[in-house]
């Protein structure tokens, strides 16, 4: 009897512990910088001497530069940028071309349509240009093409001279969001929210291909098999291979919801989504070599040393560390970098010639930098987890006892020990099991509900974005224009911040439980997503790209 209760009461202690991994053991914390408010939504940038980080959302959107010891050198803010800035920073080496010469610079695209070139050493503005805004401005990844930079604007694509930012031409495509540009010898490729893949030649003539796979929210990737697109639809995604020669889709590989930005090294591609990380090998055709359950929706970092990092975009979650053996195996281990919660920014790795550093940032607005211990010579501190060891010991005792009792014919005692063993296992795996089960169940049996109707009083900029409504004292408080949130908790948190509502709740084994919103507790809160009542926890309930979430006090 004592064994029964002792084992059960140890379980919560164990669940709170994170296991140590090979990466944790070979890297040590170097420094951190807390921006206090705002998100780090895209990867930091290393320019050779400075580490640049962009932050936005609930704080003045800015780019901040640090030296390698973590001292802030400069920052450049853009108070007019009102949405989350997520266009990746682009480092440009000094050069010259037909339209002039330019110094080393960093290009920054803002959601108010502004594009700036700044000096990485002091943040001084070199030139700027304004692009069009339709709710949002620039959100995608730039690309360099000799003396030009190709900028994905909200409604099209433009070619700008690196020397002075002068627009050479601009061509309208489709409405885009986080849609990066890819450059090849024929010109440029870019996707849009309507699922069209656009080809633009170097004089600005555009041709579109309606792939009908879903929203294209990354720069297309060139492979030997064709152009790879990971397109997002409401409840799933598709990895498509497009042959530009005959304008046909040659492959469609089904994948999970809310895809991450795919990354490429030679003929290998890594993709991610809310269900899996996977690696593909693309020669004549693309073949999925391996996939591992993991929830990631933003950028993926794949470095020259073969290390792959992906932020897990979940509440209280950690980072995923993956390695590829060069054959067909992708291995995964969680890593502890002291940053938990939502995140979509890839880390960056850089070296000062002595040690290799890895910088992580996420939605909490904290930048943490780790250094490689093998090179810096620091000895890792061992972290002995008594709770975990006790549980493992207890489980071995139960397993061993079950076997011995079975062999000695003591059936009743065998059933007792084995049932306790199974119970502990099920209690431990239940959070993950129920989460995965709910996802599969939702995919198999999508709910039919009357969707929330568009309110004519809402601004047009909210069209096609995520919106949250709070019902309080007979009034509706709404905020919209959100994008990229994959679950209801993340979307609710950002809406509460915008409306200056305090959101309190607690994380339970069944998921996140909202206790009060704006001080209103009542007997709890209920939510619906697109008219369908929420029946699982708020962090496990999916939010889609145009979801309307409604909160009602009970």
């Amino acid at each position: 009897m004592a064994l029964l209760f002792a084992s059960l009461f140890v379980v919560p202690v164990i669940l709170a512990q994170a296991p140590s991994t090979p990466w944790d053991e070979t890297h040590s914390f170097s420094w951190e910088y807390d921006f206090e408010t705002g998100y780090i939504s895209t990867s930091p940038l290393f320019t050779g001497e400075q580490l640049l980080v962009r932050t936005s959302g609930h704080a003045e959107p800015s780019v901040t530069a640090f030296d390698l010891s973590g001292t802030k050198i400069w920052d450049r803010a853009n108070p007019a940028s009102t949405n989350n800035d997520m266009s990746p920073l682009l480092h440009v080496e000094a050069g010259q071309g037909e339209c002039g010469s330019w110094p080393e610079m960093v290009l920054v695209g803002w959601t108010n349509g502004l594009v700036e070139a700044v000096n990485p050493s002091d943040g001084e503005l070199l030139w700027s240009t304004q692009s069009e805004v339709a709710g949002w401005g620039v959100t995608g990844q730039f690309a360099l093409d000799e003396e030009f930079v190709m900028i994905p604007t909200r409604k099209g694509i433009g070619q700008y001279c690196l020397a002075d930012g002068q627009q050479q031409w601009w061509t309208e495509t489709g409405l885009g969001w986080r849609n990066g540009v890819a450059v090849d010898e024929t010109g440029y490729f870019i996707g849009d929210e309507a699922g069209q893949l656009w080809h633009i030649n170097r004089t600005g003539n555009a041709t579109s291909h309606a792939l009908q796979l879903g929203k294209i929210r990354h720069a297309p990737l060139f492979t030997d098999a064709g152009i790879l697109i990971h397109a997002q639809s409401d409840t799933s995604s598709t990895i498509g291979i497009f042959n530009p020669t005959d304008a046909t889709l040659t492959q469609q590989i089904p994948a999970g919801p809310s895809p991450a930005t795919p990354v490429q090294q030679d003929e290998y591609i890594v993709t991610g989504d809310s269900s899996n990380m996977r690696i593909l090998h693309c020669t004549n055709a693309c073949v999925v070599l391996d996939e591992i359950p993991f929830h990631t929706n933003g950028e993926i970092g794949w470095f020259d040393n073969g290390q792959i990092f992906a932020p897990s975009n979940l509440p209280d979650s950690n980072w995923g560390f993956f390695t590829f053996d060069g054959q067909d195996n992708l291995t995964y281990s969680p890593i502890e970098v002291g940053l938990h919660g939502y995140g979509t920014a890839a880390p960056i790795q850089f070296s000062d010639g002595v040690a290799t550093f890895t910088a992580f940032g996420n939605d909490q607005g904290i930048l943490r930098v780790y250094s490689d211990l093998e090179e810096s010579g620091t000895v890792p501190a061992t972290n002995f987890d008594w709770g975990e060891q006790m549980l493992i010991f207890g489980m071995f005792v139960l397993l061993g006892s079950s076997s011995a009792l079975l062999l000695s014919g003591k059936r009743e005692w065998f059933l007792r020990t084995s049932s306790l063993f199974v119970l502990v296992i099920v209690v431990l795996i239940l959070p993950d099991l129920s989460s995965q089960w709910s996802k599969v169940f939702d995919e198999q049996f999508p709910e039919q509900a009357s969707p929330e109707e568009w309110n004519e009083q809402w601004p047009d900029a909210w069209l096609g974005t995520q919106i949250v409504i709070f019902e309080m004292d007979g009034e509706e408080h709404s905020f919209g224009g959100f994008v990229g949130h994959t679950d209801v908790l993340s979307l609710t948190q950002v809406a509460c911040k915008e409306l200056d509502f305090e959101l309190s709740g607690e994380s339970t084994e069944l998921g996140w439980y909202v206790e009060s919103i704006n001080g209103i507790e009542g007997k709890g809160w209920e939510f619906s997503v697109d008219g369908a009542k929420g029946i699982i926890s708020v962090d496990q309930s999916a939010a889609y790209s145009t979801s309307i979430v409604r909160w009602t006090p009970v």
């Binding site: 059933l415 049932s419 084994e509 929420g534």
Partner: protein, 215 residues
């Protein structure tokens, strides 16, 4: 977290508690007067199991009360089993959160206690372990099914209800494994604990009745 069922006003909550308490006392009332010791035993039993339920709260859907209701019904009969179920639901929910769902939890456990009294789980040699295990597995799903009705507040359709039940299957499975573990570890001990010693009147009645037949 999600669905809560209908909201009760303070007055409705009090009325509901009064009705539940009334049911429990009506079930406990018997034509023959029960010794004070029996009543004290029932009170201790109810408080202990309620306390265990509150303590086990961190483990989602590991429900010792289900097995307890089954065995109390089997050993003490349907009336006292159902009363036990209603009182445990009320007292433990006083600490864990009271509401519309208390009615369904009380109904679920009471129905399990009644089933326990009809299933011949206890024989002259003690607890029939195989039968008790089977009953505890079915009881887990039955209880979760009954409690699921508490979400019906007029806004949830049949399909949504089925989806809700489907989402809960991993928790039903855990309830089932928990029940099995409780039966295997504590079933026989708990059954013996509940075994009633015959009163002096009952012994006398048996003896006299036996002599009467003999005579």
């Amino acid at each position: 977290m999600g669905v809560h069922g209908p909201t009760l006003s303070p007055l409705t909550s009090v009325l509901l508690d009064v009705v539940l308490l009334g049911c429990a006392f009506w079930l406990l009332a018997k034509p023959t007067k029960r010794p004070i010791f029996d009543s004290l035993f029932m009170v201790t039993l109810v408080l202990s199991v309620s306390f265990i339920r509150v303590v086990m709260q961190p483990f989602p859907n590991v429900q010792p009360v289900t097995v307890a209701a089954l065995l109390v019904g089997a050993q003490l009969g349907a009336r006292r089993g159902a009363a036990f179920a209603v009182l445990v639901a009320m007292i433990s929910n006083f600490f864990m959160g009271d509401g519309w769902w208390t009615v369904f939890q009380a109904a679920g456990w009471a129905s399990i206690a009644i089933a326990g009294s009809r299933l011949s789980l206890v024989t002259s040699t003690g607890l029939n372990l195989g039968r008790a295990c089977m009953a505890s597995i079915i009881a887990a799903f039955w209880f979760d099914f009954i409690v699921s009705f508490s979400i019906l507040d007029g806004t949830i359709g049949f399909t949504e209800f089925i989806v809700y039940l489907g989402h809960g299957l991993p928790f039903d499975f855990l309830h089932m494994i928990g029940n099995l573990t409780f039966v295997l570890w504590m079933g026989s001990w708990f059954t013996q604990l509940l075994e009633e010693d015959p009163s002096l009147e009952e012994i006398e009645f048996t003896v006299v009745n036996g002599h009467g037949i003999d005579g």
